[in-house]
Amino acid sequence: MKLSTKTRYGLRALANLIGQDGCCSIKQISKNEHISSDYLEKIFSKLKKAGILKVERGATGGYNLNCDPKKTTLKEVVNALEKAEFICPDFCSCQSKSVWQKIQSGFTNVLSSITLNQLVDSKTKSVYLDYAASTPVDPEVLNTMLPYFDFSYAGNTMSLHQMGTSASQVVETCRQSFANILNALPKEIIFTASATESNNTVLKGIAFANKSKGKHIIISSIEHDCVLESAAWLKTQGFEISQISVDKDGLLNLDELKKTIRKDTILVSVIHGNNEIGTIQDLASIGQICHDRGVYFHTDASQSFTKVPLDLSKLNIDLLTASSHKIYGPKGAALLYIKTGTKITPLLHGGGHEFGIRSSTLNLPAVVGFTKAAEIAMANFDQENARLIKLRDYLIKNILETIPDSHLNGHPTDRLSNNINISFDRVEGESLLLELDYYGIAASTGSACSSSSLEPSHVLLAIGLKPEQSHGSLRFSLGRFTTKSDADYLLKVLPQVINKFRALSPFKS
């Protein structure tokens, strides 16, 4: 018996198939595991012959398990894929024969002691549930980007020669694509290097361009740090900042907004889908209020872009931020939508790129990748968001049911399709996070103890949590590669982890 690539790929493919909880096509597994579909076809036909797999016909057809993964051992899989090959033939009586026999039986013992289910559940399992922090680059996106590192696109988009022109044409195609997605004009789309840059440009650019009208800026109490910090800096420059509160679900207090807008208010900036608690704001209502009062309205849609429909022709939005690395595009690319006629000062002065709003040689491959990522996400918009919402609600329901004294943070339905944020009484987030990491689960926490400051999350405090509740909160953010089996794995591990630390806690229920 020997082990070859066939076995390695076969086991990987089987583990992936088990993770899908049901029938799966060769094409899908090939994509998930990066194994060529021809090669997989060969492996699967052998596994089928051995009775480990079966073929299901029909629209949702493909391969499915034909055995109980709790009982089937790796030995059966290896036997099906590899020729039984003894080092010494039976008649051989060489001196090393017993050594090889021992190795052979060792091999067999190990392989028969591990079932397919154990293979999937082993501690080496890795479940990434921090997609809101950043996403992996989709392989298709990467492939689309690669040619743009080529010499033929080496030119600066501002250069007049052929290479500069072809680079510039590519950028304009990308701009057009985003204009189509957002229902805006191409010249209203500016490419930047990050959502942080886009948000800084909005706050500082609007402030300095409109200070003759006024020096009052309104933000919400649950903005991302880059908006909060920009606003705090503007305060040092003589601007006045008001923060609008949110209710217990994280929805903006619209009456307070109406009352806070003054004659000298120049900008209202409210995050669309909150990065911590996932609450989605009513952009139509906020936009209408700002429009009626003649105040610019900006929204940071870094988390919500491609998760919530955004038709800029229908919403009264003057400025919008979206980011590439949250949607399976590369890091280092983002956009800023600026409605025609908006008065804004650039943050970066120089060669006049991006209609003079953002000087800097464009990162062409990143822009191309960002565009491709957005196109893929929009093409699968309905299907993928419906899948995520189902998975999200399945997890929320089961966590709240199985773990006592746990509470959902954020709005139950007006919520990003991939966001789960839950507080657990009598435990602390950082220890939970580290312990989950031992089980291969990557999540995030609103606890101050894991960050560089000791202050609890301002978002959780804003929705009325006590500091001790905010310390015990975890965020799980789902994504394109999260499966039902990942969710079930979390549901299996999380109660154990919470119980471990509750047992350690001096506070009892």
Partner: protein, 150 residues
Amino acid sequence: MYTQKVLEHFRNPHNFGSMDNPDALGQVGNLACGDVMKLYLKIAKNKDGQDYIEDVKFETLGCAAAIATSSVVTDLAKNKTLTEALKIKNEDIIKALDDLPTIKIHCSLLAADALAEAIYSYFQKTNQPISKELEQLHQRIVTCQTRLKH
């Protein structure tokens, strides 16, 4: 971020749990970082007639550093006389853990405070003289904890 020692104590803490009828109890907490530590002592006389820590247990709500410092302070205190135990400083705790990130130094202070508080309460209960130094330490800890809720 954390040393191997911190992670070992965090994953497999020593002497954790509550104690029935402890001779002394010290509870300290710092809600700014969400850490609360409770230390239980069982005190006996050694053959020289001195009070010593026969057994010690802890319960902690807090981050990995808080759990690790609690665990290590129980190791350091066990079988020490109360006089020796009072000499355990937060630097000793950090040293026993092979270091702590700067932002987590306060966790080691908390662990040292919990031990001092437990011994203080025992001295009070048994009407033993309390040194000026220990009295000052106790006053500082109590002032720090006005925000603590039980």
